[in-house]
Subunit: 202 residues, 2 copies
């Protein structure tokens, strides 16, 4: 049983938590997913209150650590020394990923120095200004670190996590339920290609 | 200012609320979006507690009424006479839509008798067994009533709502932020085609 955690904060982008949460939450045999934060409850950018299952330091012991996004929330979190110093992640043992603005947290944790990364297209220049090799690409994987850009890319990020841990068949099975009726071939090809392109980016 | 409501219930499918909620919630000038239920708080299928903004009878006065999904939640709601009889929707004046299993609520409200509809592919036979002209298609629009099937089809459903109310440019603008980095053309074509196919289904 793997443990996958999703890190949130106040003003997190709703969909960037909920898409990952829902896809992962449907499987309770192979992994458990926990939402972590600095408080018992965080308020989303659109105003939904979400209870956390644990505190951010738990991320250090998880098999997979995923960072959600949100311009204001990420900025505030990076200004909070307690937030930044709570993480002691291990790229040798853990899979670490981000969606959209979560890339700025990976950058601060020193995880994007080794190679290319992506973020939301609107934030790409800002990421490059920090010295990161920013690519306008849905998913960029570099060893055990993956960044995704554009909300719906969470599908590729989760696909990558499941494929690395459990193989391609489990990944296809995990994402199947999400695919629009009558568009299975289109989406399965898009997912396959986006993950392949992500893995070959580094 | 239009009012768009999303109806939930206990055991609602997480993503089928949150995807619509997030896309719509980013715009606070053209519409306001409210989550309605039978209680002050509903628990999602994956265990998130979500506070509602109002009760389901409010749907009768909204410009747009969207039903979320969830096999268990829909079934329980349809067994609840108070739930079913609370709705008095007007297809002449309102846009009414559903994602996945929400189609079964539209069916019970008598809104799918006039033409074709869709639902999650896994539930299509069950919908057909009720006498509905069920299509394995991402979006099916019939006048002011639209059904969508497969979680990510919520993007097409919301696209249809925004295009009907505010035009194509606003629809493109509304969905732009969601699109994976580097895949804008692919997704804009897919969205355009899916909505066109939906509108021409009836």
């Amino acid at each position: 049983m793997k443990t996958i955690v999703i890190v949130i904060f106040d003003s997190f982008t709703d969909i960037d938590l909920f898409l990952m949460w829902d896809i992962l939450g449907r499987n309770t045999k192979d992994w458990r997913v926990r939402i972590l934060g600095t408080k018992a409850e965080h308020l989303s950018a659109n105003g939904l209150a979400v209870k956390t299952h644990g505190r951010i330091a738990e991320a250090n012991d998880a098999d997979v650590v995923l960072f959600s996004s949100g311009k204001l929330g990420v900025k505030a979190s990076l200004s909070d020394k307690a937030f930044v110093t709570a993480f002691s992640l291990n790229v040798e043992k853990q899979l670490i990923g981000s969606i959209c603005g979560g890339a700025f947290i990976l950058e601060r944790l020193g995880l994007l120095r080794a190679g290319p990364a992506t973020t939301h297209p609107d934030a790409l220049e800002e990421l490059r200004a920090l010295g990161v090799d920013g690519r306008e690409q849905a998913l960029v994987c570099n060893g055990n670190v993956a960044t995704a850009g554009g909300c719906l890319s969470a599908v590729y990020l989760i696909g990558w996590v499941v494929e690395v841990l459990f193989g391609r068949a489990k990944r296809i099975d995990t994402l199947r339920e999400l695919i629009p009726a009558g568009q299975r071939d289109t989406f399965e090809q898009l997912i396959e290609l986006s993950i392949k392109k992500g893995v070959s980016a580094a």
